[in-house]
């Protein structure tokens, strides 16, 4: 029976297109999309937004967000976002990148965009592998983690250690707001949304570079169910990639949101 006097507690945000995504069942890319769209709706930024999609699973982000979007060459989203923001400074420019895109081929672009203190917002999805191409080892793959290109587990003797992108970018003077959040349970998802809100507020106020790293799951390539993947993320990824605020400029810390 439908109750007459009821309120809508939650509904799909307006900034998401009315279409199904190509992401695998349970993939937290969808959660990240949803949170970003919710924040854009809440802040009324939709008409001012320009997104820059990366290469990887998130390559089709332009199909799923209902605002202007462009597609950058592999890893070059921060460079493209720089150009857009400088030409159209009144627009709110975001990039949406995975770990294979931003922490690998795009490492140069992201470091220099942060060092220049470009007034853009970067969303960095870290799922510890190259999801789109079949789960190969990425710069963020954990020591000992099995992937299709490290079938015996990542050996740090030959393949080195995973890159902690947030800690790395936090050392740069130009970065204003660099934090890591996770998408593995409702509490952390709420914290992630708050961080996304802060990042957009930083850009709206012209306070400089902001990046949100979001720990994500990749059930298909990890070979687990979505629920098992959430537990794996909590048990294995969070000890190596601790959730926290790595760079909060004093002016950003004073923001009342």
């Amino acid at each position: 029976m439908v109750m007459l006097d009821e309120v809508v507690v939650y509904q799909r945000p307006q900034s998401l297109e009315e279409c199904a995504t190509h992401y695998c069942p349970g993939c937290t890319h969808g959660v990240a999309h949803r949170l970003i769209a919710e924040v854009i709706d809440e802040m009324g930024l939709r008409e001012r937004m320009i997104g820059v999609a990366s290469v990887g699973c998130s390559v089709f982000a332009y199909n799923y967000f209902d605002f202007d979007f462009v597609q950058a060459p592999h890893g070059r989203a921060p460079a493209m976002a720089t150009g857009i923001k400088r030409v159209l400074p009144d627009r709110i420019v975001m990039t949406y990148q995975g770990d294979g895109d931003m922490a690998s081929i795009g490492m140069g672009e992201i470091v220099h965009a942060a060092a220049r203190g470009e007034n853009i917002t970067v969303f960095f999805l870290n799922n510890a592998n190259y999801g789109m191409t079949g789960g190969q080892m990425a710069p963020t793959t954990l020591p000992g983690q099995q992937t299709t290109s490290s079938p015996k587990g990542r050996d740090v003797e030959t393949q080195g250690y995973p890159v902690r992108a947030s800690e790395l970018l936090a050392t740069l003077e130009g970065a204003s707001y660099v934090v890591r959040r996770s998408l593995h349970d409702p509490k952390n998802i709420r914290m992630a949304k708050k961080a996304i809100r802060t990042a957009f507020e930083v850009q709206v106020r012209g306070l400089g570079f902001s990046m949100i790293e979001l720990l994500s799951i990749c059930p298909t390539n990890w070979g687990m169910t979505p629920v098992q993947s959430l537990h794996w993320l909590e048990e294995h990824m969070i000890p190596y990639y601790p959730i926290g605020d790595y760079k909060v400029h004093p002016i950003v810390a004073e923001l009342k949101i």
């Binding site: 439908v2 939650y10 509904q11 992401y23 979505p226």
Partner: protein, 81 residues
């Protein structure tokens, strides 16, 4: 009496990932064993009474497929009187 709520799952988006089934504090969501969506998944659905409209299923849903409704406070007062 606990607050009453309900969810509506958009079957065009639901991929049966079971994240909402796992997250539901009332354990009233399950995959529908009979229905199959256009994409070939069993969609999530309310299987018993007890939904409080807390919205946690919507918070974890990667597809933004869930709309959550909750009984309005005014209606509750009227029912109690």
């Amino acid at each position: 009496m606990p607050v009453k709520g309900r969810i509506v799952v958009n079957e065009a988006y639901c991929k049966g990932c079971e994240l909402c089934v796992d997250a539901c504090p009332q354990q009233v969501i399950a995959l529908d064993p009979v229905r199959i969506t256009a994409k070939g998944y069993h969609p999530a659905t309310l299987v018993q009474e007890g939904c409080t409209g807390c919205g946690i299923c919507a918070i974890v849903c990667p597809e933004a497929a869930i709309t959550v409704y909750r009984e309005a406070a005014k209606a509750r007062q009227t029912a109690a009187a």
